[in-house]
């Protein structure tokens, strides 16, 4: 009898937890900021600093081939190294950046794409 009541309370506990269910996908958790013209210093640098320079620092580590610490380096990477493609790939697929980490939020990816369309200004 005691055994049964513990079993029941375990089941009850887990069904209670289910009440805090949400039905979101990652892009539902972002907000869209309207940027007139995206520039490196204003919009791009904070994203790169938060997500990339752990490996792509002034001395690149963990096998990263280049640094992403300055405007010139990041611009070079967009033009020659397919930075936009690499950060856009689905998480867990081969070549996706950040390596082994979560994909950037779509808002952040879109900011860097806009920076490219706006002419890669400093």
């Amino acid at each position: 009898m005691k055994k049964k009541s513990i079993k029941l309370s375990t089941v009850a506990f887990f069904s209670l937890l289910l009440y805090s269910c949400t039905n979101d996908s990652l892009s539902d958790l972002t907000t869209v900021d309207d940027i007139e013209t995206a520039t490196y210093t204003q919009n791009v640098k904070p994203i790169i600093d938060n997500n990339c320079i752990i490996c792509h620092g002034s001395t690149p580590t963990n096998g990263a081939p280049m640094s992403l610490t300055t405007y010139t380096f990041v611009k070079q990477a967009v033009i020659n190294r397919g930075l936009l493609d690499r950060i856009s790939r689905a998480e867990g697929t081969s070549g996706a950046m950040p390596f082994g980490g979560p994909r950037l939020s779509q808002t952040n990816i879109d900011v860097i794409i806009q920076w490219n369309t706006d002419g890669l200004q400093e």
Partner: protein
Amino acid sequence: MKKLILFLFFFPLSIFAQDDLLKEIDTVETNVKVESAFKSLKIINLESTKLAAKGDLYLVVAHRFDYVKNGFDDFFGMDNANTQIKFLYGVNDWLTVHAARSGFQETYDLGVKYRLKSQIKDGFPFAIVGFSSIAVNSELKKEDYPLLKFANRLSYVTQILISRKFTEKLSLEIAPSYFHENTVRDILDTNNQPIIPNPQNNSQFALGLGGRYKFAKRWSVNIDYAAHLNRASESIYKNPLSIGVDLETGGHVFQMHFTNSRAMHESGYLGQTSGDWSKGEIAFGFNLVRVF
């Protein structure tokens, strides 16, 4: 004369008593539980029907390396390991609880496993065990996802594990599973933009299948697989398939395997396995199970 009557009175009884004792020796003992359908608490990724004995504390250290396809560049994936550390405790013979942390999406998970029915020799044909867990993704950051609430980090899993030990060597298991990810990953279209609304339902169903075959006293070969039943057709995720061997040494079980899943917690391998066996996206991994 009195003594004779008395003797006759008791004589038959003593005969019966003898009979009963003999019978007891001859009868087959019923209600014998069939134990150890699986050596370890997991088949590979899928939970097995084994529980910890009352009062036993287990430490499980598991690794999944990167995919082997890059060859010597990262030494067949050895350079990039994903680690899970898990503690299990047998509260009762029918109830095991666990707490774990794994590197995949920096996940914490808590779970309970409870035996509902044991397989009985010449009796009930299956062992039935329930398993429930809740996982917390601690990787998502508020800076990146301003609308993130704690509940968005959670995912829940409920499984019914049904196993049968067919012979001393062969055991099979089937595991109907339900899991709910509070936040599902975006599915990208051909331009790598998220498809809105997300075609993947947050509530998902899967059917786990697994088995082991003992080919030597201390060795067995294990396979497990989970078929996702309502995955969106645009999804990049695959069904996890794992093949490996168990080596039992006194006090340890050492499980070595190849799997296309990098996650080790339930909602991770059921819902977010991205490796493709046909493209060589399989990883070497091991679970080291130690009982104290």
